[in-house]
Amino acid sequence: MVLVFPAIAVLISMGIYAVLTQKNMIRIIIGISIVESAIILLLGAIAYIPEGVAPILDQPYDTVVDPLPQALGLTAVVINASTTAIMLALVIKLYNRYQTLDIHEIRKLRG
């Protein structure tokens, strides 16, 4: 449990580092997707109370895990897929125009 928060910080840093330094456009999108998945992990980890059960209350329970970040995370998962799809559509348009996936080449061409 104590290892989750350093792992989340490392994942967010790695994702942003990939956005800053990678050349292939699809790898940049993979980096953004990893940052979004790390945020979902953060929402799941904040909700956790030790010795708690899942928020389905049909059995007698002692302590229940916090249900509010889980509801917000469920919305976030679907929104991640939508934004990834829009980014990939833009990559296809850029490839049709410039015939390359290398972002340094596209920055050099300018028009």
Binding site: F5, I12, S13, M14, Y17, L57, L74, V77, V78
Partner: protein
Amino acid sequence: MKKINFDKVFSFILVSLLGLFILRVLYSVAGEEAARFTADHYINFGVEETSAINIVTAILFDYRAFDTLGEATVIFTAASVVALLLPRHEASMLKTEFTPVVQQSIAFVLPFLWIISIFLIAYGHLSPGGGFSGGVIISAISILIIFTYGYRYMTRRFNVKKLSLIEDIGALAFLTIGLAGIIAGGTFLANSQVGIYPGTPGELLSGGLMPLSNFAVAAKVGTGLSVIFLSLARED
């Protein structure tokens, strides 16, 4: 001697500073036991007020149904943007034909996928699942059909116009369910506060208007993601 790329070193230093800052923020947030008032109210009174056993579904479709409306808007916008941006291609994809073994096994599995998705949607307030999980399984069905049977077969059965129509019907149904809350005397999207047929917890027909909201959101999410995939895989 290798050239040291100053861009990469500078980015690495910046990113590690960001990582340390995020770690400091997370450790000061982690142990907070005091900020759980709302969650305690939802857990203690959730089953009485809304008669839904799944508290996450009760939050998403009853207490905070307005966020679900915002999320449906995001999917609608994404489907429209992707359908607008992408041109039609030459028939470049799927030159590899799958053998009849794959086609027959997928044909055997597909009805069970329909059953799983409708089960997850209908029992959304009683067990883990809900409108979102069922809806994305419906879109996974359409992706599977495109991969094994080809794009032509899919557009003969369901083209983008029919799927868009079902998506619009889903969104309008969700808005009409919200207006039913105003007609019954409460606020927009009010379900349990105006007392629309709670029922007993544990039955299938309970929870007010929650099963209808589940079906509307599942239709919207499922067909929205299917339209996105059809636009990405479009060929003529």
